[in-house]
């Protein structure tokens, strides 16, 4: 038909977190028709990483997918949608993913920390996107829903100033939204 967008909740085709060699740390694809095998998925990820790791340019079109991305130290975060998808929706999902991860890792967004908290990260991704539908886009809500461990052992490593600092940061984020 025409180029009009199809009204569907299934807006996200995939979410990926790669390390600084382009290896998969955690990825989810929500549309089984895009890649038919894990091999193809990984090939795509390598290619995606190749094209994005140097320039921090936020958005790229690859293999008929629009991929928005963000990186920090040794981690690369990607959110993918159909090539005609509203990029700004994808970016809002990406920011949610990144900010939630950042909150969970207490601003230490790097590979080692992420792997140490992989269980919580997996839960967070599950909260952000359910089978291709954006489920929650507010990073604070996401981190609250999954940041269960912190309640168990409240701030034993942090000083009072740090707690205040992070609270201030969180407030700032919520205002910036």
């Amino acid at each position: 038909m025409s180029g009009l967008l199809n009204p569907t909740l299934y807006m996200i085709k995939g979410i990926a977190i790669l390390d600084n060699d382009g290896n998969r740390i955690f990825t989810k694809y929500y549309d089984p028709t895009i890649f038919t095998s894990v091999k193809e998925e990984k090939k795509f990820e390598k290619n995606l990483f190749q094209k994005t790791h140097r320039a921090n340019a936020e958005v790229i079109m690859l293999d008929r997918l629009t991929c928005v991305y963000r990186s920090n130290v040794d981690l690369f975060f990607y959110v993918m949608g159909a090539s005609e998808e509203n990029e700004l929706i994808l970016v809002s999902v990406l920011s949610c993913l990144y900010d939630a991860v950042s909150a969970i890792l207490r601003k230490n967004v790097e590979k080692r920390m992420l792997l140490d908290n992989l269980d919580i990260i997996m839960l967070a991704i599950d909260e952000i996107c359910a089978g291709g539908i954006p489920l929650e886009t507010d990073p604070q809500v996401v981190s609250q829903r999954v940041a269960l461990r912190m309640e168990e052992s409240p701030f034993n490593d942090q000083t009072v100033t740090q707690v205040l600092q992070s609270a201030r940061e969180q407030l700032k984020w919520s205002l910036l939204k």
Binding site: M1, L4, R64, L88, A130, I133, L148
Partner: protein, 872 residues
């Protein structure tokens, strides 16, 4: 310092940076035994479960047994009340439910969590539960689902709604019963809840247009809070506007326009994109959307710039003038750090730019090309091609640019795109030909891609001999014979022969060169050289024409079959090539989509090839002796779309017979049709045999056939046949498809007429050199007539109609009418049933309709006559 931030650490392994580095399936599955310990060791189980999830995510496949074992072990973990562990179990359930067996065993545990007090459990438990329940089980949790949809916790409500949407893929009926709850959720305060509720509601009402319209107008007036929901609403509204060609509610469009002033960028963009994509938007309606996008072009956020330029480039394809206002902003984007944005900007500019700006653009392109990838370069090349066709006067500048690019670095697809573009320009503009050929010649002197070299050589063979100084190309071609690999050498030999065949002055030299090629190390090259040398040495123009310039093009599979057949029979008679079907020239191949192309193409129905039909028909004993299949028509619809029965007709032409194949579909699920047959009647046509389709269940395709001998008299081989579908109906149970009764009743259904036209007797044929073929055929059976085609308004239309009507193939690219010309000559080639060669020259002139002088040449006077009469 980082150490102080680290939360409780898990067991560490020596994996350098990655604690999961050494994880392998067997050992992890061993470790999973720890799930069975009581009391549950939370820390250890969490770690092992994370490892399993990690492995699955890395693409490790568990067998059904392994998955089932892990799944059952995991259910033990419901004993622990640790929040993280419990939620990891939910994740595990979702990951494994596709592979493991008997997953419904966790239903009661999940139902308990879903109805419990802990919000942290409820939402994810609902989502996990809906993954393992089927439609029948759904009833038992229906009450809980309804409650969850309207739950005051947004997370729970969203989870329930999203699960509803997933369920609807398999069993939409269940969810339809919850429509009032979904409606209630639509007015929720939760940003995401509103979005999810709208998505589910739209899915429920999708097929009922009136209900959608109502829902939309209510939402427009009440207003939604969630930007996501508004984006969704914009998409629904845009669809509604597009579907109603006339008399659209202007409030719908007003809504889109109002959303251009929304505070969320996501909504503004969505609205702008919808407006510019709508086909009916006028220039005045486009303007505000374009200016919003123009503002985005200078936004600091790359994604916003990207979205805007992507949309503008789409508009530029159809309405370049509307985008021209943004040209200045677009030029600034050529320097953008994001190369995707820069490429889109450049290609958009190439579409919107005026003739005067071409030179300046070329300058910026050369500096820009160095640092982008091949995919983007291809996009630029394609834009250049469009530009060259649009401004023929700028072709020399563009050609130089392309030649520069051809010399530069790049892979095969990129080089191929450039070569294709140069070839297109050459074909479009005879004046550019020699220059273009020079560039290509220079390129093949140092070309590492065999396919591309062969393609360019082939082009040289076709175009070179017709230039003013063909001799200058010989050196380039012969260099290939000396320097290249076997495939290129063989192609070069063929090209040499073509020069020899057409340029008498060069013939003696070519013969010497061919003689040298006979020493080649490769069989194929030697064979070709010997063959061409022998043919050219005869100096017999008929022979040269038939075996070098327009060689016979048999369908190879048919040729093989016919030869096998021939060897089985009496081989004393000579093998008759006349009855062989010629291979129809390949349809223009589909362009591979480039990286920037966005709109997915509608899926085309695959039409089986000639070969496929021939095989299918040969498998039917009654048709096995009809000889080789000459031609199959495109499928012809004999019913309106979406009627009770759908019938398509395919006409298969043999030497003396026509087989009508009727593909029937029964769209009534309470009927089973038996003995389905199509009865055809027409003057001068007799049905010799018909093969009914014994049984036609709901929604399955069945075929029946009619065999008609073609009348002897060539002038009565066209006609109209009336068609009626006859069958016996047995009512049946829609659910099972089992017939209710043993008895049925006879019924019939009138179909549209089947037309047998001249085109059904003509196969398209390619002539690489029409003029040579025309002279060769001679004026012996020539017929000429003049027609006034009053119904046609343009030459393009006339060309398309005549081509289709005669079922022939346009040669020498004469199907393309140059812009602004008032006369045109169309050359067509085909083969008439029985192997008669037919060539047609149609001189067209535009004057109050189209006047056509049609000249037909063939090797049979009757064939000429019927072709000439076809147009009248």
């Amino acid at each position: 310092m980082m150490g102080s931030f680290k939360p409780a650490k898990k067991d560490e392994e020596d994996g350098g940076g990655n604690p999961y580095h050494n994880v392998d399936k067997t050992s992890v599955l061993q470790e999973a035994r720890v799930f069975n310990d009581t009391p549950v060791n939370v820390k250890r189980c969490t770690h092992v479960l994370t490892k399993i999830l990690y492995l699955l995510n890395q693409g490790e496949i568990l067998s059904e047994k392994e998955a089932t074992d892990v799944f059952f072990a995991m259910t033990k973990l419901f004993q622990s009340n640790d929040l993280v562990l419990r939620r990891l179990v939910y994740l595990g359930i979702k990951e494994l439910c596709g592979v493991a067996k008997d997953t419904i065993i966790v239903t009661s545990s999940l139902t308990k969590d879903m109805t419990g007090r802990e919000d942290q459990y409820r939402a994810p438990a609902i989502r996990a539960l809906c993954r393992i329940t089927d439609a029948t089980m759904m009833l038992s949790i229906e009450r809980y689902m309804k409650q969850a949809i309207v739950d005051r916790a947004p997370g729970v409500s969203s989870a329930a709604l999203v699960s509803c949407r997933h369920i609807m893929k398999d069993s939409p009926e269940v969810v339809k019963r919850w429509v009032s709850e979904v409606q209630e959720a639509l007015v929720s305060d939760g940003v995401m809840v509103q979005f999810h509720a709208l998505g589910v509601l739209h899915q429920i009402r999708k097929s009922d247009k009136l209900a959608v319209t109502k829902m939309v107008s209510k939402l427009i007036s009440s207003g939604l809070r969630s930007p996501y929901a508004i984006c969704f609403l914009i998409r629904i509204v845009a669809r509604l506007i597009e579907e109603d060609e006339a008399g659209t509610d202007s409030r719908l469009f007003d809504f889109l326009e109002a959303m251009l002033r929304h505070k969320a960028e996501m909504v503004i963009y969505e609205a702008a994109n919808a407006i510019v994509t709508l086909k009916r938007s006028s220039a005045r309606e486009l303007a505000p959307a374009i200016s919003v996008l123009q503002l985005f072009l200078s936004n600091p956020k790359p994604t916003l710039r990207f979205a805007a330029v992507r949309t503008l480039s789409k508009v530029a394809m159809t309405q370049p003038n509307a985008v021209a206002a943004c040209n200045l902003d677009l030029e600034n984007l050529i320097q953008d750090v994001n190369r995707s944005i820069a490429t889109l900007a450049i290609t958009t500019l190439l579409k919107t730019g005026s003739e005067g700006s071409v030179d300046r653009l070329m300058k910026s392109i050369s500096s820009f090309l160095n640092d982008i990838s091949d995919e983007f370069k291809i996009v630029v090349v394609e834009a250049l091609r469009a530009l060259a066709l649009k401004y023929p006067r700028k072709q020399s500048v563009l050609m130089n640019q392309l030649a520069d690019m051809l010399r530069g670095e790049g892979g095969l697809p990129y080089k191929e795109a450039i070569a294709t573009t140069i070839i297109t320009i050459i074909e479009d503009n005879p004046e550019a030909k020699e220059k273009g050929l020079d560039h290509l010649c220079e390129f093949i002197e140092d070309c590492e891609h065999t396919t591309l070299a062969v393609r360019i050589l082939h082009l040289l063979g076709r175009e070179g001999p017709r230039t003013r100084r063909p001799a200058r190309y010989i050196r380039f071609v012969y260099n290939r014979v000396i320097l290249e690999n076997a495939a290129v050498r063989a192609a070069a030999v063929s090209v040499l022969a073509k020069f020899g065949a057409q340029c008498e002055s060069l013939l003696s030299n070519i013969l010497v060169l061919l003689q040298r090629c006979m020493m080649d190390t490769e069989d194929e090259v030697r064979d070709r050289a010997t063959y061409y040398h022998a043919v050219l040495s005869t100096k017999d123009s008929a022979l040269i024409h038939r075996y070098i310039l327009n060689p016979p093009q048999y369908a190879l599979a048919s040729l093989e079959r016919a030869l096998v057949q021939y060897l089985r029979t009496d081989t004393t008679a000579t093998f008759d090539t006349k009855t062989l079907p010629t291979a129809p020239p390949p349809q223009e191949e589909k362009k591979t989509p480039n990286i920037m192309e966005t709109a997915s193409r509608p899926e085309e129905r695959v039409v089986p090839s000639h070969e496929k039909y021939a095989e299918q028909l040969a498998a039917i004993p009654r048709f096995a002796r009809l000889g080789p299949l000459f031609k199959s028509s495109a499928p012809l619809e004999l019913t309106e779309a979406e009627t009770e029965y759908m019938v398509r007709c395919i006409k298969h032409t043999f030497l003396n017979y026509i087989v009508l194949q009727f593909d029937c579909t029964n769209t009534l699920n309470d009927q089973l049709l038996e003995g389905v047959n199509v009865v055809v009647e027409g003057d001068g046509w007799e049905v010799e045999a018909s093969i009914p389709c014994p049984s036609l269940p709901y929604s399955q395709l069945g075929s029946c056939y009619s065999l008609l001998p073609i009348p002897e008299d060539i002038m009565s081989t066209t006609g109209t046949l009336s068609a009626t579908l006859k069958f016996k109906v047995r009512d049946c149970d829609p659910a099972t498809g089992e017939p209710d009764t043993d008895e049925g009743y006879e019924d019939d259904y009138t179909l549209e007429d089947v037309e047998i036209s001249v085109a059904d007797h003509v196969q398209r044929a390619a002539r690489s050199n029409f003029a040579a073929g025309w002279d060769e055929l001679g004026a012996a059976n020539e017929l000429e007539d003049t027609f006034a085609l009053a119904a046609m308004n343009t030459l393009e239309e006339a060309v398309a109609q005549i081509t289709q009507f005669l079922g022939m193939h346009p040669c020498d690219r004469s199907d393309r009418v140059p812009d602004g010309k008032s006369s045109h000559i169309l050359y067509l080639a085909g083969t008439y049933r029985g192997g008669h060669e037919v060539l047609v020259r149609a001189k067209l002139a535009l004057s109050d309709g189209v006047t056509m002088q049609l000249t037909v040449r063939s090797d049979d006077p009757e064939v000429s006559e019927i072709i000439a009469s076809a147009v009248g």
